[in-house]
């Protein structure tokens, strides 16, 4: 995973609430067994509607509860492959938020009025190290809005760490110990290979 520090540039605005992952990446593209190349299918059905305009900018600003519905990671894959590096919204669906952080697509929760102001500014900066979003207000004044993110998630994103490698290197003996301690617990775990 590529480390993230500051994401800056133009902003695309999708002004809709409750955008579900079925819209972000429709089901017909979930049959692919590859991980790359999903960008061209992003918002496939909506993109055919007249007036659709969502340029591939570094920052996407959108409405509340973004990414609700299906757990498909194909949705964040598509958003990232399309060109978005950060997604700013008043709120995200849980699974979607986690999926984004796993692939280095930065989800940023910002109050709705700041989301709108950032969209209106047309460009801005998302600074993960400083944990703030910066943009200019209509008078040209620089506005810096802090955002919160889990410290461990932030560390992994800043350093571009691979979760699995980290778990195996930092926790392998703890997992072993946990399994040993549980071995005589009741009831034993069902064994799927002995059904």
């Amino acid at each position: 995973m590529k480390p993230i520090e500051v994401i800056s540039g133009a902003v695309s605005h999708l002004d809709r609430a409750d955008v579900d992952t079925d819209q972000i990446m429709p089901k017909q593209f979930l049959k692919r067994i590859e991980r790359s190349g999903f960008g061209r299918y992003l918002f496939y059905d909506w993109a055919q509607e007249p007036g659709w305009d969502l340029p591939a900018n570094p920052i996407l600003v959108t409405g509340p509860n973004f990414g609700c519905g299906s757990s498909r990671e194909h949705a964040p894959w598509g958003l990232q492959d399309y060109g978005f590096e950060a997604i700013v919204a008043p709120s995200f669906a849980d699974i979607f938020y986690t999926n984004c952080t796993k692939i280095g697509l930065l989800p940023v929760v910002l109050e709705e009025r700041h989301c709108r102001a950032l969209a209106a500014a047309g460009e801005g900066q998302v600074d993960l190290r400083a944990q703030e979003v910066r943009y200019r207000d209509p008078a040209g004044q620089l506005v810096a809005v802090p955002f919160t993110i889990d410290a461990e998630v932030r560390r992994r994103l800043l350093e571009g760490l691979d979760d699995i490698a980290l778990t195996l290197s930092e926790h392998a003996s703890e997992i072993d110990a946990y399994e040993r301690a549980r071995a005589d617990r009741q009831p034993p775990l069902p064994c799927t290979s002995a059904l």
Partner: protein, 469 residues
């Protein structure tokens, strides 16, 4: 200190709250063909193995045709065939048990876990599928994950996890005659909104929940994700234990009585604190029908399609306006006057034997309305066999329903079962998103009885007025 059921399960599975956050041990990892191929590929590229294949179980469900196709190699559509075959190959390479097409245990992943008895109280269960919340009906902590997390669980049998917040939805009163678990959960989402439970593990409580069958409880927990909830849970009780004692389930614990003693300690302690509490009056609910493109856009069957400007509750007016355009519905139209072309009884929400029995009771001796195409898709090969043993398939066929093979089918239309653009469908599934059942298709979510009655009448009817033959 008094603990919630969630806290008890969480604490029993938490590993090391070290400097870098803790891990959650996963007891059961369920897998299907759509969200796993890239995870297996990741393992292969890194030269990793599956840590606990014996606590992992795979099935093919999303892509499978429901026309009786009996083996992956016979799937006509190439991409679907490749995806199911890839799952079979991955499972054999990594030693994971699989019930694929043609197996007598194949079915929708959330139907077969409970059916086989591998879904048990007190467990942590994950799957690369948002409706994993279904398994919480047994008093398990079960939630959906993405493909990167699937890979993480395969490699480590754990997940990096932060403790979510907790929420309890307490129902007061009992469900009225003809009002089902589906109506209960749709009505709840209508009240709290599609983001009403974001960030929370939800425990459902109250007499209306205690009175539900296991199947009804699964329907409720299944749709937790439609309110944005991380997981849904229901305390195990006698109804839960009977699931294991009354039917032989291959995954059930060998020493069942000892297991039940343990399970009986799981329910939240009296006085345990939740981060949020919501109360819903179950007795006030009528059978529900969704009118829009999120499960929260829902009305009683006795009601009308609302006007976006006069909406009460959590739905945003501009989203509602867009939804009505997509659904081609006029505000003020009585719900009962909405006419249908398709009816789908199936999905992990409502495709279990109890759902099919309820639907069959409604259609027995009647005929599907002219101009309506209706199908019943059992949730698993076992449900199908059971229904056929009871003669339910005959009842459906005689009434003019299609009786199909097990799978996700028209819940998401990744297989040949889809809506055509503009077609309007009464569906027992869980999502009425734009295009979910086929591009341009219009979905109304309802209970199995409501869907069955709509198939006969050709429009929605209040099931409480239905005359059973």
């Amino acid at each position: 200190m008094a603990k919630t059921m969630f806290e008890k399960i969480w604490e029993a599975h938490a590993i090391g709250e070290g400097a870098h956050g803790g891990l959650l041990y996963i007891d059961l990892h369920l897998i299907h063909e759509v969200t796993s191929p890239q995870a297996f590929e990741g393992l292969r590229l890194a030269g990793r193995s599956v840590r606990r294949p014996e606590h992992t179980l795979a099935t093919a469900d999303h892509n499978v045709p429901t026309d009786g196709t009996a083996a992956a190699a016979q799937i006509k559509e190439e991409l679907s065939r490749v995806q199911v075959q890839t799952l079979e190959r991955n499972c054999s390479e990594f030693g994971i048990p699989i019930y694929s097409l043609g197996s007598s245990r194949q079915g929708i992943v959330h139907v077969i876990g409970p059916e086989l008895g591998v879904t048990q109280p007190g467990m942590t269960i994950v799957c690369g599928d948002s409706h994993t919340s279904t398994h919480g009906a047994f008093g398990a902590l079960a939630f959906g994950i993405g493909t990167s997390e699937v890979e993480h669980v395969l490699a480590t049998q754990t997940l990096p996890a932060r403790k979510p917040e907790t929420m309890v939805i307490r129902y007061v009163g009992e469900l009225g005659y003809g009002v089902s678990a589906k109506d209960l959960v749709l009505g709840t989402i209508g009240q709290i909104g599609v983001d009403g439970a974001v960030g929370h593990v939800v425990e459902y409580a109250g007499q209306a929940i205690a009175s539900l069958s296991m199947e009804g409880r699964m329907t409720v927990c299944n749709m937790t994700i439609e309110a944005g909830g991380r997981a849904g849970m229901i305390a195990p009780d006698q109804t839960t234990f009977s699931w294991f004692t009354e039917t032989r389930r291959p995954g059930a614990p060998a020493e069942l009585e000892r297991a039940i003693e343990r399970w009986a300690q799981l329910p939240s302690d009296p006085g345990a604190r939740f981060d949020r509490e919501v109360t819903v009056d179950a007795s006030a609910l009528a059978p529900q029908v969704t009118w829009g493109t999120t499960p929260g856009m829902v009305a009683p069957v006795t009601g009308r399609v609302p006007s976006p400007t006069e909406l009460e509750g959590p739905v945003d007016p501009s989203t509602a306006q867009r939804a009505l355009e997509y659904m081609a519905l006029e505000p003020g139209t009585p719900i009962a006057e909405i006419e249908l072309q398709r009816v789908f009884i199936g999905s992990c929400t409502n495709s279990r034997i109890g759902d099919l029995r309820e639907a069959a009771e409604v259609v027995a001796g009647k005929r599907v309305a002219k101009g309506v195409r209706a199908m019943v898709v059992p949730g698993s090969a076992q449900v199908k066999a059971q229904a056929e043993a009871e003669g339910l398939d005959r009842i459906f066929r005689d009434a003019g329903f299609e009786w199909r093979g097990a799978g996700c089918s028209m819940c998401l239309g990744m297989n040949p079962d889809t809506l055509a653009p503009g077609e309007r469908c009464a569906s027992t599934s869980n999502r009425n998103f734009e295009g979910r059942q086929g591009r341009g298709g219009r979905t109304h979510l309802v209970s199995p009885r409501m869907a069955a009655a709509a198939a006969i009448a050709g429009h929605f009817v209040d099931i409480r007025d239905w005359e059973v033959a």
